[in-house]
């Protein structure tokens, strides 16, 4: 077993184990910390696929941004020592059945399918290529999705401020 495969097995095990802990843990803050481990090992997989920029984005934006946002909202909305009630047996059995069936179907399809790679030479995606492609029109240009995503981010920021600001306790609702 080479070092590559060892690292892949390590990241894969972390991903699966902490993913399952994320969706089954009965303490919400622990679930958020397990989610952090899942996101970090996903960034490790991006490094293994040789996409350094995306791994850095994953680490800063997901592990640094979204997880902190989630932890803050947990602190605002729930009590730390509170534990969830265990999921009903019937519900958890049927959900697990649905998930396992879907996973088996997908995995069998993946193993059955013959993927054929192209013979073209690989192209390294460095910062220069990313910057030029994001602002280029035409072939390999992504200026339209870039503009759309910038409008989406503005809209999301304004929407988050507006939604979180208004409201209050139920009695003062009628005067807005």
């Amino acid at each position: 077993m080479t070092l590559n495969q060892l690292m892949f097995v390590l990241f894969g095990l972390m991903l699966i184990v902490f993913g399952i802990l994320t969706v089954t843990s009965r303490r919400i803050l622990r679930a958020a910390v397990y989610l952090l481990f899942v996101l970090v090992s996903t960034a490790g997989l991006y490094f293994m696929l040789n996409y350094q920029f995306l791994a850095a984005v994953q680490l800063t934006l997901y592990a640094g941004g979204i997880v902190v946002l989630i932890i803050f909202s947990i602190l605002l909305t729930s009590h730390i020592s509170q534990k969830f009630e265990p999921v009903g047996l019937k519900k958890s059995i049927f959900s697990a059945l649905a998930a396992i069936t879907g996973a088996i179907v997908t995995i069998v399809t993946i193993l059955d399918f013959q993927f054929s790679a192209t013979a073209e030479a690989a192209r390294e995606i460095d910062m220069k290529v990313i910057g030029k492609s994001l602002l280029a029109t035409g072939r390999d240009g992504y200026v339209l999705p870039f503009e759309v995503i910038s409008i989406l981010l503005i809209a999301a920021m304004i929407a988050a401020i507006v939604v979180a600001k208004k409201g209050g306790p139920k009695k003062s609702v009628s005067d807005n």
Partner: protein
């Protein structure tokens, strides 16, 4: 970096992660944990697209940029979802999906 690892290993890993997220989405009762399951699902899709880009079409950029945009969409989705969750908490003092069953006010 990925020598000796077949493409299907990455795809199987992403599929397992995806269906872990589906399981959490179906069983969880708390809005924030449902949001965390959605993040798991989005991440597994990203792994898929990057693996396809690296193994099958290494001369193209589509998978890379699609996952970049998915990350941006996931960030804005988390921001709006958490704003809505905090608003719901103010109004109902709970974020359990079974207790939040009226939209009219």
């Amino acid at each position: 970096m990925n020598a000796g690892i077949p493409l299907s290993y990455f795809l199987i890993l992403a599929a397992l992660m995806f269906f872990t997220g589906i399981y959490g989405f179906l069983t969880r009762r708390n809005l924030i944990t449902i949001l965390m399951s959605v993040e798991l699902i989005l991440n597994s899709v990203n792994i898929n697209m990057l693996a396809f880009n690296r193994y099958l079409y290494p001369h193209k950029l589509e998978g890379f940029f699609f996952s970049l945009f998915v990350i941006a969409v996931a960030a804005s989705e988390a921001a709006v979802a958490i704003a809505i969750i905090i608003n719901i908490y103010r109004r109902f003092t709970t974020i359990n999906v079974e207790d939040v069953n009226e939209m009219k006010y």
